[in-house]
Symmetry: C2
Subunit: 448 residues, 2 copies
């Protein structure tokens, strides 16, 4: 992408309403623009990151055996009356009346709708297990939307729903999502810790939140710090196999959110040198809730014995748009974002220090074409303006690598390559620059 | 994808509420499920087609130089007061009040919001032209939603917005979209005809609808039938070059929708043997409306002379979800869908005629793996059930090719390959089946 064609409206001033780094940086770097309280437009730069995060989430859902579909944003109120949640949900639900006075709502989650879809199509235990998911915009009418996309009102969520014949099978589905989530967040460079959590309005009796530690997190959390370095299962994991050992390993050490925390327990189970009390951001939440919805909504299947029984269900959410904030909180400095390669809007930025200079223009155009040819996502800063402005902009948007092309370097046939994560610089010949970058990009993108 | 894992709830009965083939087939083939009047859930099979259509739309937008972003579904009412459309839009606008009594709406289109975003970030003619697009769910509270996804209330639309310094430049943007649309629809196997159209509530004085002819279309159209076979520009088209000749060619012959039709003109310009009066489905609509929004909303840029003037804008919509219906209307028979390769949910279906039989299971599993390895999207029917049921299901969902694996054929080392478009069958050896399919798939997917 040539910057001259792109739309990248940077903010010069730090917006005063933004209290945390990710919110500030997303506004400053022209990734989002607020359209209402807790409602954002995703400008091209932010959109690219959102798409990459979404794609990683999708790939790991598919790997775990979940099947993608898409439910609408608007739901009929009657569906929620069947489960009893229409009245229970409270003011966070955005209620809507259409021109024919039908009561509807903007879906905050989809347990009811997926149960309706399931019961219409599945009759027999032979069709189980099933796992369905979608990635769709949700709306929760938060009383105090804040922290940018971290607690917005309109937000993108991936939600998966599992259907099993009994609790033992449902736990196998739960374990699949448990492992899929560990992998999903690890691929974004995040160390997530599954913590016993309260089930809240979703209900049920087994639930884990996936938390990344961050000073700006909204949740107080308590855990054994040895959890941070536990190794995440690799891509050869057999999701049809027994994942209970992984679940057992990751839940063997103490980890709980505020609501579930028990200090006595904490001190008994965790040696004092490993005790960690910190703040965290919830990026995923999984639930097993058995027949909470299938029973009132009559979603039953015939068992091997011919008798009908309600299916056992679970639901599994990832905050896709929130993840942008969480990733920036984990990877940034005073100058801007420092994207991990897997979610970077572009892998590399090419900076033309002297647009209009023949040699610079030519070298940049050649590099740009060759990098794209090699499968690298490139942003080419082909605009005018001072070098300092260009450097600052590239640091702010935080692409993993920068290739700086200037008249002085070109005279000796060189360009400078800067790695954003640690600022390390290296002179390389123009001819080897493409290979240099392409190799590092493909190494970083390798899925383990 | 193994059918045993997929979710494909077929309907045995033809739903009585569905009046046209595409609506009937989408319900019967388990592609959609209605959740309210004009509101549908996209089941896995329908979702796969929707994603492929969306991706073609995206690729052609990118090729034409438009930049993708994403605006929220919920918009503040005040934005629409700035343009004067909040009161003018009428009952089709879904109006919403949140918990703090703020007036909002579910966006039916995005002219106001994109104008707000543009004016916040662009100050100078040097930043022009700009073309921005998004693919997002819209809501129009139709009084009579009907024909399934063809006229739904919640629907997926791609909308692009162009910003130029003056009318001459704006026409260049208009031409880019004109050509991009011809290419987009052609890649889906559709012959679209651009027709002079009324500008309706969007406003402006230049507008074309892109129409595919179909008996079940909602619009009456009149055109010179020689338009149908005009050659669409290929992928080497230079979108930065002069596209006026293409525009001139495609608008040289008479073509108008009902509202714009002038019979005298029609008979004067079209030789009687080429006169065509038919019905059509609107799948795209493009507008040049100048300063209709930029003037009241104060979206101005400084020109080369330093003087501010309002930008000239256009907007360009494609009905992404509606396209599924339009494509089925164009490609189906009594047995089901006949997807063009480019939008098929899977390229090929492998039918195991005797699940449980060792030789059949093994041959199918090998084929399935090898086809996927070759980059082919495969649905493997690994379920039990009668052969007749499997054939009927595969015909109904309409994948371009079927590979039928049965014990009799395997004895002589063969499988049968059926082409869905014309029913042609061929026996090929098990060993050559993958190459046979992969070659045809890749030929069909080649972008011209």
């Amino acid at each position: 992408m040539r910057l001259s064609r792109f739309y990248l409206p940077l903010l010069k001033e730090t917006p005063s309403e933004a209290q945390i780094a990710s919110h500030r940086l997303m506004l400053r770097a022209g990734m989002i623009r607020q359209q209402g309280a807790g409602i954002y437009a995703w400008l091209p730069l932010g959109f690219l990151v959102l798409k990459k995060i979404e794609q990683i989430v999708r790939e790991e859902q598919d790997r775990a055996g979940a099947v993608e579909m898409l439910m609408p944003t608007i739901q009929p109120a009657d569906l929620w009356r069947e489960s009893g949640r229409y009245d229970a949900y409270g003011k966070e639900m955005l209620r809507i009346t259409d021109r024919s006075d039908r009561e509807m709502l903007f879906g905050p989650t989809n347990e009811e709708m997926i149960t309706e879809i399931f019961r219409a199509g599945v009759r027999s235990y032979k069709d189980l297990p099933k796992m369905l998911y979608h990635i769709q915009w949700k709306f929760r009418d938060e009383i105090r939307p804040r922290f940018g996309v971290m607690r917005g009102r309109e937000f993108l969520m991936k939600d998966t729903y599992s259907f099993d014949i009994d609790e033992a099978e449902a736990r196998r589905s739960y374990n699949k999502m448990f492992v899929a989530y560990l992998r999903t967040f690890a691929r974004m460079g995040l160390k997530s810790i599954p913590m016993r959590a309260d089930t809240g309005p979703i209900g049920g009796d087994l639930s884990h939140e996936f938390i990344v530690l961050a000073e700006t997190g909204e949740s107080a959390v308590f855990c054994d710090e040895r959890l941070i370095d536990m190794e995440v299962p690799d891509k050869e994991t057999d999701f049809d196999g027994d994942l209970q050992p992984v679940f057992d390993q990751f839940t063997s050490l103490y980890a709980a959110t505020d609501e579930m925390h028990n200090n006595e327990d904490f001190e008994k189970r965790v040696p004092s040198e490993n005790r960690m009390s910190a703040r965290g951001i919830e990026i995923g939440h999984i639930f097993y809730f058995g027949t909470k919805y299938s029973l009132p909504m009559k979603a039953s299947v015939a068992g091997a014995d011919g008798k009908d029984s309600p299916v056992h269900m679970g639901s599994y959410g990832v905050g896709v748009s929130r993840l942008l904030g969480a990733i920036i909180e984990a990877f940034h400095d005073d100058d801007g974002c420092k994207w991990p390669m897997s979610v970077a809007p572009f892998h590399v930025g090419v900076i033309n220090l002297k647009s209009g200079d023949d040699a610079c223009d030519k070298a940049c155009a050649t590099l740009y074409d060759a990098l794209r040819e090699a499968g690298v996502d490139v942003l080419y800063d082909d605009t005018g303006g001072r070098a300092g402005e260009k450097f600052a902009r590239m640091d702010l948007i935080g692409l993993p690598y920068q290739v700086v092309v200037g008249p002085r370097g070109l005279k000796s046939g060189n360009v400078e390559i800067k790695r954003r994560s640690d600022g390390e610089r290296e002179e390389v010949s123009v001819d080897s620059a493409v290979h240099f970058i392409a190799e590092r990009v493909s190494d970083a993108l390798k899925v383990e």
